[in-house]
């Protein structure tokens, strides 16, 4: 790993609320920098020229800040790769750091990293907490990286880009499917995994540790945390605490953003576009966070038409309908799956969740049998259209559909791998 250290004036692009604001930094004698709120400062520079103190913690994202040297002298052409400023000590909270300063170091990034997957100095991705955090451009950029990930082969250079990185899967409730997908993604990129499926033990009744304390402990052992929790909002609390990136792998009835991303990615990959598509959301639209997140994300694209096909007891709720109206997205409710299927690019089927019906098994049985995707439905679908499902399925898609090329649900599950590989790459190495 060739490292190139910075001895010349350069620029840092700030992150977060400060946006990408250039900062002049003369590391050889002093470092002067400007923030978007007008502050200016000259941190002390050690005589090694590469270690310095800063009291501006907002400079330092959770990962090394990608920098671009602006010195145009021919002498330094060889150094024109990307490099980073790394805080050496991040103990204490932000106030403590502003008071006492943060010891920093300018470090080079591996050339290989910078070249192999760089898609430009777009923006900073710190955590993945909820589907709403992604705008259309970000989604498009993530999908670009996911497509690169599909090409990562065993023992190809790309398969080792996360070598030396450790991911902790901190699952407060088990979800084998999601956990295996993340762990496979990390290992496909050469990274290592610390697994825990009984994270609840951290905060057992007897011991009562807060989530924040658990996160502070685990972040000492790992470089990124993939967290599943039973409480809505837990991922956001973890991200606020952690100095390392957090990925929400589902927090109770809240968010499951990587599922939403892989759904949209699958539609683009199968249909070839996201603008102008027609999508049927079928099944349990009241309780499924999957279809709710998907509706939200589809609203970011142009000329999308959504059909809701659901038994009466699990109809799509008004908040989503109102949101779609506010975004001028066309939607329609229908009880005729055959007619809808014939018009759609995507039939997105979901499982009726028995556990939501309590003792009203009769209502469950009625809802469950109402809209089944079988070969009859397939026979009216267009040739280019696809059937999707977040899995697991029961019998809401019959097994004889599996052999049809339009059955996309296992490809969809596989796409989860590529989306998670892309997110791990983006959070740990940047764009």
């Amino acid at each position: 790993m060739p490292l190139c250290f910075v001895f010349v004036p350069f620029q840092i692009f700030l992150r977060g609320k400060y946006k990408l604001f250039p900062i002049e930094m003369a590391a050889s004698t002093s470092i002067s920098f400007y923030t978007s709120n007008g502050a200016i400062g000259v941190p002390k520079v050690s005589k090694s020229h590469k270690i310095f103190m800063s009291r501006y913690p907002e400079l330092f994202s959770k990962k090394p800040v990608n920098c671009a040297r602006v010195c145009s002298s021919a002498d330094f052409t060889a150094l024109r790769s990307s490099f980073a400023v790394k805080p050496l000590q991040l103990e204490g909270n932000r106030e403590a750091r502003q008071k006492f300063g943060v010891l920093c170091q300018a470090v080079g990034l591996k050339n290989g990293h910078a070249n192999s997957f760089s898609v430009g100095q777009k923006f900073q991705l710190d955590d993945v907490i909820e589907a709403q955090q992604f705008d259309r451009d970000t989604l498009s950029a993530i999908f670009d990286v996911a497509r690169e990930m599909e090409k990562v082969e065993k023992n190809s250079p790309g398969s080792q880009i996360l070598k030396g990185y450790l991911m902790a899967t901190l699952f407060y409730e088990p979800s084998t499917r999601t956990r295996l997908s993340f762990e496979s993604a990390m290992k496909r990129l050469g990274g290592e995994v610390l697994t825990t499926e009984n994270a609840r033990e951290f905060s057992s009744a007897a011991k009562g540790e807060t989530l924040e304390d658990s996160i502070r402990t685990v972040e000492g052992y790992s470089d990124i945390i993939v967290m599943r929790h039973f409480e809505s909002g837990a991922a956001r609390r973890a991200a606020a605490t952690a100095e390392i990136p957090i990925i929400n792998a589902g927090d109770g009835p809240g968010q499951h953003p990587t599922q939403a991303l892989l759904d949209v990615y699958t539609i683009e990959r199968e249909i070839g576009k996201l603008d102008g598509i027609t999508v049927a959301l079928v099944g349990d639209l009241a309780n499924g966070r999957t279809v709710r997140s998907l509706a939200y994300l589809l609203a970011k694209y142009k000329d999308v038409k959504i059909y809701f096909v659901a038994p009466d007891v699990v109809k799509m709720k008004d908040d989503i309908k109102d949101y779609l109206n506010s975004r001028n997205v066309q939607w329609e409710e229908s009880a005729n799956l055959m007619e809808v299927a014939s018009k759609c690019d995507v039939v997105y089927q979901t499982r009726i969740q028995k556990e939501r019906f309590g003792e009203r098994i009769d209502l469950y049985e009625e809802a469950r049998g109402k809209y089944i995707v079988d070969r009859n439905v397939l026979s009216v679908m267009q040739n280019h259209a696809v059937v999707m499902h977040p899995l697991p399925r029961l019998d809401e898609i019959t097994v004889d559909v599996d052999g049809d090329p339009r059955a996309a649900y296992f490809r969809q599950a596989k796409n989860g791998l590529y989306i998670r590989m892309a997110l791990l790459k983006l959070l740990l190495l940047g764009w």
Copy 2:
């Protein structure tokens, strides 16, 4: 990893029901091939010369088909290493693939792989489902590879042959001993592991996913699945579904083929031969699938004599006795462990399984104390003979036997590692 791509006519050896039938393939302009049922075809070849379409899915085993280039021109001598044809997309079932074709790519294999462990183009091992699938020659070939595995040392070249491969241990019931043995085997060869011991969650009562759907999901995340299940026949169902290799690590009262293999391997390694040996099977012969599988495999060898020494309530069942008769294997029942031990090459002791006796603890206690291997038994055994046990043991072998060199049971457990290393190598890289 130097890759050599194929631009010249070459041969593919078909697999499975088509046996090793040579196929002429001129990848530079067209690929013509013949199957054993007389079909002939010319798949489309892309202009890149290395990506082509095929509607002959039977060409493609679960792993790259080992090929041998037949071009004798001196110009291509340097390319004479093995290479493979890899399907690029395996979505959909076989019918879908025959209808729409499979996009294929000719890829080179690492030179190192081809040389270091190749023992000839013997045959294809796709899955490990049951002891009966192995004939005498296959067993002998697997044992050859296992002996090579005993030499694989830390940081030796052989210790990285599975680098980049991912094994999923999909355990529907916990079996720490078996799981650790497989995971150690995979890691000793440089591979990585995805662990799940609560795979039952995949098919929880509430969710009800089929085994087939779970397998289709997990195979998207891994290169090989080691499966333990509570239902007999589950491994066979998984293998029928999966495009990647399946190893049965025990399916309920059914099979545990890797245990049977390591038992026979241990006998050969300890005694030096398998033909002409005398073996005593002691303990619970009615319920132990281990001794039943072992009797079955021993019947493949010549002049084997088997003694059954079991309490009356757990005697060997007639199906095995009938099978041994049909193969002309000599067997005898005896109640005199001392006399039998003095004649045998192998005394294979097993645990009386308390859980099989239900409320009849009296019968259990009577059966349990009946045939104990202790120093008295050792004293009549021949010098070259060994005591084996599938472990765990209670007190059916006394602890003071452990120090005797003829106590082979911990070496036997260690041999499980080598057998599993061999199977992983064979299933992922071929012979």
Copy 3:
């Protein structure tokens, strides 16, 4: 990895009870060696010059014995790196090995290993069982290695020193925090991990395998075992059985030596010294094995003063007080946390363990609220002093303390990583 094999006379330094006694060994023709009890022998040497038989198992520690070649010939200067004698077969117990001999091999060690982390041929560390096994010099040496570990960076040479080694985490009761710390340590050094948190299944009521048998099985799969057990003394029994190193990660009410080591390491790292310090142990001093082990270790240093600040129901017990008296360590009990805090270098707070109070919740609530470290306590503490806690905490340290630079408890948890990295390095590679 350049290997240099030994074809010339060399010396082996014996271990354990034989201390570092030099042994002449002429591997080219014969190997003569002397033990400290006067025995002398000439093991057979195979014609390969590097494989030989020995009936002196005491020669062979659990890991390769570090040797130093004494041949002074200039011809062999290039070979002057360290090498090792490795037993090839360790089956059977010690008596069996003395009777039948052990097949051995002289093997070279990686140059990189010998250079990068070697801190001299100090002594042999075979197992980590209890805090008492470490004297002052050993502690200091371990801390030297731990400080080196703080510098091990991703993809730095040091980050791969345990490549090819397998650690088994054999946890008979779950302890996510401890397990993750060990697994992170192993992976940060390039090693691999076999995880089991349900090791109790090995010895389930139905199966009843002894701990010793379980250890013999697991040591066949791994190079080192990190064990947590519910019974005091279990780690010692495991170490007596195992041929590979055992680390005690807590055995019931017994020992948790790596916690004690990281506590002392943290004090040295934060305060800069161990002699002459003043430490307050606060909270549950009756039940916490952490503070008891810490008091024991602090007694090894000079001019240490210890304050005990505990609610009456969980006061420090007499055995520790007597021990401190016997070592002339000054101690004092106090009920005034503010006064003590103003004098101390370290305030070591602990959690009142609710589970110890049974149904007397009233006593628990009274004890729990008595000594809280909050900003008031901080305000009287000296600038250089620190607050420590073994974690998890409830509210015995208020959250508003976290931001103060003197809050050392999350740094303390992180130090556990470095201590465990150091121990793994020492046990697997030696000094």
